[in-house]
């Protein structure tokens, strides 16, 4: 297996990898860092070939099949020192493998179930929501301005490969998102609503807005046709974790559609 050994932080490919730790650079280049065997293998099996593949001397044996696979799909293999690797890694105990891939462009499906995320700032929660949306057979996830970057290392880790299985789009305004959902009834998860999420007919084309930390008033203002729905809760519990609330509603939709 042919590879190049890099030991200088001044190497342009290493500097490029490092630059992708920054959200703005990811957006500009439309490329991302995938860390760890699971995420890289998931992306390759979903048909997204890495452009560059960094590994530590340690990982050369341990992840040999993955290296072979990456090389066979056209990735340049780059062996780097553990010190350099630590500069592009996002984990405390790295596995020693990081790939650079293009941001997947997955077309939305036509099953009429969309998730709209507004105001979620925690990358773990966003990744978990993407994982649940893919599992519940939603068509697409639309992110409103201010939502944490879905392509950050933490969001990718929490997504467990969902990023390669479901369309993820960013909308500038509610109007733009509305154009993508011409036939959909719009629901807004709001703990104070009277209508239970189980009373909704989810077999019709539907979109669910999750507000996260966004002001309720701002959502209601921007999505005037949205119907507020709640998950009935016991014992004075005021709210659920946003990833939990979204998942519970999406799987109720999946249950009705099954």
């Amino acid at each position: 297996m042919r590879f190049t050994h890099l030991s200088s932080a001044a190497n342009p490919r290493f500097k490029y990898a490092k630059s992708l730790r920054n959200r703005r650079n990811r957006r500009k280049q439309q490329q991302i860092l995938l860390e760890g065997e699971r995420l890289i293998a998931d992306s390759i099996s979903a048909g997204f070939s890495p452009a560059l593949f960094f590994f530590t001397p340690d990982a050369e044996q341990r992840h040999a099949p993955l290296l072979e696979q990456a090389a066979s799909t056209g990735a340049q293999l780059l062996r780097v020192t553990p010190e350099l690797f630590a500069q592009i890694s996002d984990t405390i105990s790295p596995q020693g493998v990081i790939a650079i891939s293009a941001i997947p462009q997955i077309p939305p499906g036509n099953r009429g179930l969309a998730l709209i995320v507004d105001g979620v700032r925690d990358p773990g929660n966003l990744g978990t929501l993407l994982r649940s949306a893919a599992a519940a057979d939603a068509d697409q996830v639309i992110l409103m301005p201010g939502v944490t970057d879905p392509w950050s290392p933490k969001a990718l880790r929490a997504g467990m490969g969902a990023h390669f299985r479901i369309a993820i789009r960013t909308a500038k305004t509610a109007e733009e998102a509305r154009l993508w959902l011409p036939e959909h009834a719009i629901y807004f998860a709001d703990a104070r609503a009277d209508l239970a999420y189980t009373a909704v007919n989810w077999t019709r084309p539907s979109a669910l807005i999750l507000g996260g930390e966004t002001e309720r008033a701002s959502i209601i203002d921007h999505w005037q046709e949205a119907t507020s729905i709640a998950i009935p809760m016991a014992r004075g519990v005021e709210s659920l974790n946003v990833a939990v609330a979204g998942s519970v509603i999406l799987f109720e939709a999946a249950r009705q559609r099954a």
Copy 2:
């Protein structure tokens, strides 16, 4: 309002608070640290009065009503320097209020819905599960050996007050837990099962085992009567976040029981 000012790390009450950052000490003393206005207010409104209440000079004005409330339920108020406070705080930007309370002893209800947690090591996931279990009107949460401490600052934070609303018990063995659930049908959430969670009759007394990181074989070995159930998932998604999986099933139970 009367309070004592502490500025020495050698003060016995301060040292006691610091010792409660350790799980073993919490278990021995059966007392815990509650940090932040929300958690302290929740515990007081659920009827659990703090014994000690630490606050920074900054917080004296900002959280005056909470201080009054704590004092009126019998808490000793202790003003500490920001430097000392940082030593007992678990957050990067502390609100400046920490209470010491007894671990709540809440008797299990008799609605016949229990959650059994085995092998969850992430405190955020455990706290989220407690929050969902309380919201879905479960009776009790039983923790098996090896589960992360529910009374750690991170688990308390993710629980958002659920710790004061639902019985939390620790079982030494599956046999012991079984004695607490004499009439319950036992289900085990297992992504590889054939039976869908929606096909279960949750209106009967039921208990759900969440395996987290525990080996599947070990669960099946210890809970021989357990019926494996799965959440059907689309697009090659292999699993859900453990807190999400538990919540989706608990809210299906709540839906059927409504």
